[in-house]
Assembly symmetry: C2
Homo-oligomer: 225 residues x 2
DNA sequence: CTGGATTTCTGACACGATGTCGGCAAAAGT
DNA sequence: ACTTTTGCCGACATCGTGTCAGAAATCCAG
């Protein structure tokens, strides 16, 4: 399950074994991930978690400050996947509408895969000042880039004139909330419904002049890949 | 501070004193509310809370099952204010665009006032199964009514055709998230910015044919009262 | 190998918050 | 005044946390 994680600490020369410590750390993260796939964060306990790894409870504190530290580490893993998918529309070129759609589609896919972790982090965040800030910063980090892209499209005239940042904030919070809501629990919602909904909202807000997209509703080309 | 709360348990005949128990309960809720105006939920503790009331810690458990029970009670108080303000647009008649705007405006106002409590409940929710469900049900309760209104406007032809429920969900989550984000902490965001943003998104999504509203952006009539 | 240094782990402890229970005190009823 | 009801609290057991001193495993030079 974590071939990725094993080698993910520094580009070790070639066949240098990952230190035992790194393995243990990875094992803890794996156990946490697995646990959170099945149970909510509030039921996660250091003792219970470490029982899954076969190590003793104090060992946990050798690698993380506390459960929130673990969540922060898990979030870091998910981060990359998200920024990855969101890229096309952000680094603009080509058709804005097309690119936004593919970005949203990618976002929904990542959300679908990582929904449990995202919900777990979002659940854990309010319990710890530091994690709360990290989480807010993560969500917020998209606000400026989205706002920037909006400003650009406004300059080109394909987006109506309005203060970009608050709207960017609103749209981003919507995405986060809807993804966590739809895909955060074991019985996930319908990917198509979610994508259609947020696509409609984004397009209507940002590209209302593209009547095809908004009024006719972008029929079903671009099933999520 | 809680003249309302004092009399809020049954319509007592006339001048019957509120029972001592009711007073104590109200005092606890007041203390909680006050605390949460200044500090986050994670710092709320039964002991600390009861010190504010002058009563002993066990007394708390005479009136609430636990801190999450208290949060549920506080949420109930806020509920009414919210459904109140949201009413105009939901019970449709008159201009849809106008009414939606006034509903959103009212919503932003309530959010501004009760932001701290809303954030506290939202923070507390993931820590308790029951509260989580109550909170989800509260947010979700608007999904169906909004969806119903959308379906109505679609029938009339002022709203494009699409599956109403997922879009309603998305818009509602956006509202909740943005209100909590903007008004949940002591240094609240700008009411005007928030209102403009969500108004733009709602209008663009639901009433894209109203070019005045959407494209020109509803200039500043209706400053929040 | 092998004894010493380094890395990795753990048993045992102290602490803080929770929720409960039996009984005390204050108020109300007669 | 005295009994009943109502409202309250001291004391306890429990659970999860985070730390620390030292044990065990691993590595490595001689």
């Amino acid at each position: 399950m974590s071939e990725i994680r094993k080698n993910s600490l520094l580009g070790v020369p070639r066949t240098s074994q990952p230190s035992k410590a790194a393995l243990t750390r990875a094992a803890i993260m794996d156990a946490g991930q697995e646990f959170l796939l099945a149970r909510p964060f509030r039921e996660l306990t250091v003792g219970g978690l470490m029982k899954l790894t076969g190590h003793s409870r104090p060992t946990f504190y050798l690698y993380f400050n506390d459960l929130h530290g673990l969540m922060e580490a898990l979030l870091d893993e998910v981060k990359v996947g998200i920024v990855e998918g969101a890229r096309p529309w952000l680094s603009n070129e080509g058709d804005a509408v097309e690119e936004l759609q593919s970005s949203l589609s990618a976002l929904v896919n990542v959300g679908y895969e990582q929904g449990a972790i995202l919900k777990a982090v979002s659940d854990a965040a309010p319990g710890d000042e530091r994690l709360e800030q990290v989480w807010q910063a993560f969500i917020g980090s998209f606000d400026e880039v989205v706002a920037a892209r909006i400003a650009m499209d406004q300059a080109v005239g394909i987006t109506p004139q309005f203060d970009p940042l608050p709207v960017a904030r609103a749209l981003n919070r919507m995405d986060a909330a809807i993804l966590i809501h739809a895909f955060g629990t074991r019985d996930k919602g319908d990917k198509g419904d979610v994508l259609s909904a947020i696509r409609r909202v984004w397009l209507a807000t940002l590209y209302p002049f593209d009547a095809e997209a908004v009024i006719n509703g972008v029929r079903d080309r671009e099933e999520q890949k």
